[in-house]
Structures are given as structure tokens and as C-alpha cells.
Amino acid sequence: MVKEKKIRVLVSKVGLDGHDRGIKVVATLLKEAGMEVVYLGMYQTPEGIVRAALDEDVDVIGLSYLSGEHLVFTPKIVAEMKKHEMDDVLLIAGGTFPAEDIPTMEAMGIDKVFRAGSLTDTIVSYIHDHVRR
């Protein structure tokens, strides 16, 4: 029997934002859904996240933003990903954002934004349906 390759996900906080309840829960529940998950922890830089994503050869990067820093760091992360030609890596983000910022974040290059109150099942099925590798 050919073993199906597991989806590999890297999740991370960015900058100084310390709200990590959500991202840890997401990491645990993605694992329970059969994915391989690397949680980088807090105080990560855009460069560090992208380097780790390359090292870990992940299919998905998930960012967690709860301190209003999403519009500052997203373009930096997307630029790093472009630099390394990571077009086939799915980029998702979760946290607290005003509705108005969701199209902005998507225009910046995030494939899908999950606001607080999203059910983890929704995140799991989104990843399954959209993973590109």
C-alpha cells in the first residue's frame, strides 16, 4: 500500500504579539486531523518564518495575528516567499482583524483569512481542498 504523503504545515506568531492560545489550539487540532505541524512559537521574524518553512519543506504556512500587526508583517512575509519562489505554498492567517482588512490581506497575498470564531474543521477542510503540492 502506498502511504499518502501527509500535509505539512508550519504555524507561527509574528513579531511581539503574545496571544498564542488560538495558534496552539489550531496546531493541536491540525495534528489530530492527520497533518504534520511545526509550531515555531513567538517572536518570529518574516525572514525566520520563511527560512523555517523552506527547511521544513512545508505545504502550508499559517500565521497568527492578534495585535493589529497583520498589515505590517504580511507584505514582508509575502515578499520573502516570492524571493524564494514559494508559489506552491499555501499561505493562511488567523486572528482578530476588522472585516475591511480581509480583502487587503488577500490582495497582499494571503490565500485565506480565518477570523476569530472560525471552527477548526473549516480550516482543516480548506487546507485539504486548496493545498497545492
Partner: protein
Amino acid sequence: MPQIEPKEEEDRQEGNWEDYIKAYYEKPVSFKSWSGYDLKKIYTPKDRSAENYQRDIADAGAYPFTRGIHADMFRGRLWTKREVVGIGSPADTHERLLYLSRHGGSGLNTIADVTYEMGLDADHPWAVDEVGLTGVNITSYKDMQTLTRDIPLDRVSWSLITASTAASATMAQYVAVAQDAGYDIRGLRGSIQNDPIHFRYCGFRPACPLDLSIKLGSDVMEYCTRNLPKWYYTTVNMYDLREQGITAPQEVAFGFGIAMCYIDELVRRGLPIDAFAPRFTFYVSCHIDLFEEVAKIRAARRMWARLMKEKYGAKNPRSMQFRFAVHTAGCSLVPQQPFNNMIRVAYEALAAVLGGVQSLHCCSYDEPMCLPTEKAHLQALRTQQILAYETGVTTVADPLGGSYYVESLTDKIEKEALKVMKQVEEVGGMEEAIRTEWLDRQFESEAVTRQKELNTGEKLVVGVNVFTTEQEETTPLGVQRVSANSAKKQAEDVRELKCTRDMNRLTDAIKRLRDDAGEGRNVIPAMVEATRALGTTGELLGTVREVFGYPYDPMETLSSPFNA
């Protein structure tokens, strides 16, 4: 007349009668309390047969204070309407304070941003992108002057929400500025959060190593006890712990565990319990289960009274009174159908008031989206005012006391919280539970449980897993943005300040701070002097950190400018 969209009209015409009919017959999905306790269909005198009113409940104002800490409760004085403010620069924050003061707020309340809590100056490379996004950064004496400008510090009550070890710098900055403005600090009224131990669980671990948390937290407490007799020197933050997803009894038990770390240290320093305990306060969550939250507060009051009397030998009844502020539960709010948050906050605030709160912050409805807009802030304040002036809930102390249900639930929460405290003892006490990360594991597993309850529908949240609608495209009352220019200007001002201050004076002040820290003296007086010499938050804290063997900079980017 508003135009009805064709789609909407279609919905209205067809209706959804199957669900409608089903809804007619529906029962609640759960007969458990939010924390998971099975509840009976009715509580009766039989449930209270063992009750001893004088011993366990008593009138408000009498030990063990289950019904409230004052005999006349709100008849004597309403709770303090204290909305949290922190946005952009010290000047921006000052402006919002003035706005709320013009609309009936009764207590000032300012919150540090992530950079200030981490102990970083506004010009720190890690800070420049984030200054002002979640609160206010006070880097120097001058920032504190801007924040407090023209406010009568001897007459207002100010709550300074700096929780981390940076609270020591905040206290020094506030004292220095107040003194230099001519105020007698013995008359200053207010509180400082100053609970660095809990703040390691809020993302500030590099700024809050355990030994330094106990040292600096206790230094602030001791300093205030000796010099600011009207000041509440800590607000042990059970609220933030609850936001991790734990239950109501765990909130009380873990909060008390942390509180005892500080109390043990103050006792070790030779302060008699009755000399400081009357100024010990807590920050409590009010979550969405109304009765459970009221019961939790009542249980906490009884437990605290007994703990202080029996464990610490307090004699002064004021030492035994559980004083607390409430923050309505941010984690109960969701961005889906955001106006619903106002209703959630109103119920949570009602729980706080029925529980006999001393000071209240109502979340604004836009809490899960952005910092509060002016309109949202005002609406949150109005929620408090409607409770205070319209509903009549202020007239009678502990109106739910004597309810067979609420008294039984109070006993239940107390019993469960005592069980959790026992668990903490069994792992070696709170400090050990923290060091071994036992406490981290409790938070993590509870948070996963809470999420699963939503996924399976065991708990319902309107707009999340029931009665969902399309995602809104706009935020109804607008979005609060933080001006990038404010942050930039603050960083520039700090750079300017660092080039123009008297370095000889500052170096002397830093040397004294280093000596005091090294020789085990209380560092707050030296911090006050270093603040006056225009030493910054990062410099004050970095100096003490080095003495304790930690990197000068919690982000390990900068090194001390005073070691040359």
C-alpha cells in the same frame, strides 16, 4: 425607504418553516454550567440543609464576605466605571482619556502596549513596527508627562495596566512625574496591575523570568505599601488566565496561587500581613454564564477571606476582603455579527455587578476586530451607565444571595477551586507548577477542550456554530486605526532624548540602580531617580535584568549602553 434586495425579498417570501417548526419544540442543548458542572432542574431548601448562614455566608460587610465587602455595597458608592484606554502615542491615549472623562467615565485606566510590556523603548528595532498598536508605550519621563498632562493626579483614581516586570518602571515614572508636578505621593489614588508572574502566560516570558517577576513585582508592592498608602499595588490578573480557556474554579485557584507567591515574598521581607493585604486586589473575568460567574465571585470572596485569616493570620477585616475589578470576557466575543457582542458584554457586566464588583471595564463590541473606536468605547461606557442608572441592580446588596441555586453553585465552585488548589500543592506549589510547565499544560489542554466544544456544538455561540450568516464586509461603527506617524514620531522623540540628556547624571543614577539591585535593596527609589535622569524603560529594566543574570535586552538585540 431602504431598498430590499431581490435576494432578501425571496428569503422573506419563502420562509424556512421546517426550522421554524423545529425551533418551537426545542430544548437547550446542554444542562451543564459553562465550566461543565451538571445542574439540577431546580434547587430547593433540601440543597441548603447544611447551610450555616453566619459561618459561610453572612451579611455583606461581614466575614467571610461572601455577599460583598461593604455593608451598604452600591448604596455607599457605585462601582468605578473604568474603560481601558491605550492607543498610539501617549498624546493619542491622553486624548481618548479626555473623551471618556467628558462622557461619564469615573476612573482612568491606561494599558501598556506589547512593546512597553516587553520592556522595549519606542526606538527598539523590535518595537518600531508595533508601538501603539495594542496600548501605549511609555519610554521615558516625558511620555508619562504627556500622558498625565493637566490631569489632577491627587484627585483622580488612575489604573495603570502594566502587568509585566515593566510595571516597576511604570510605577517609577508615575511617581517621578507626580512628585515633580507638586503632588504628595501619599495622596495618589489608583492601582497598577503589576502581576508579572501571570504575564508569562500572555506572551511575555522573556520579560518575566520567575525570580525577577517575584523580585520586581514585590518591590513595587513593598514600595507602595510604605509610600503610597492609598494605592492598590497589584491587580493579580485572573482574567488573563481565564482567557486561556480554563474553567471558573481554575481561574480562582490559579489566581490565588499566583497571589500567594507575592504574599509569601512580602511576608518573607518582614511586612506584617495586615500592613499590606488591605491593598491587594484582583482582576476577574466575567464570562457568559451569568449565574456561574456570580457564584464564582461569591466563592472567591469567601475563599480569600478564609485564606487570609487562616493561612496568613490576618486580623484586620480589610485584609480579608477580596477586592476586584472585572474585565468582561474578551474571548467570548466574536467578529461574526459583531453587534451581538454588545449583548454579551451587557450580560457579563450584569454578572459583575450582581457579584459586587469594585471597578468595571466593559469590552467594546469591536474587541475581536480592532482597538475600540470612539463610538464603540462610548457604547461600552453606556452599557455600564444603563446598568448603574436604569436597571435598579444597585439598590440591594448581593441580590442573588439566598437563591437555592446560586448558593449551591457558590459552594460547588468553592469546592472545585479548593480541589484545584490541592492539585497545585501536590505538584509542589505554584512556583513549581510554573517552573515545570505543569500550568502551561493545564491551559493548553483546556483551550483544546473549549475549541472542541464549539466544533461539536456542545457549546453554542451565535454566529459561530449556530445561526451563522455571510461574513460582514464592513465593521459597523468603523475601524480604529493607529497612526503610523504617531509611532514614528515617538521613536524619533526617544532618539532625540537619548542624544540630549545629561549622561553623567544618568550614569550615576544607573549605577545606583545596579548597586541597589545587586545588594538586594528595593529598586523602586533608584528607578524613580533614574527616570528623573531621563533613563528609559528599556534602560531601567535592562540594568536590573543584567544583575539577575539575564540578557540586558529581552529580545537579545541590544546591549547595555552603560557597560563601556
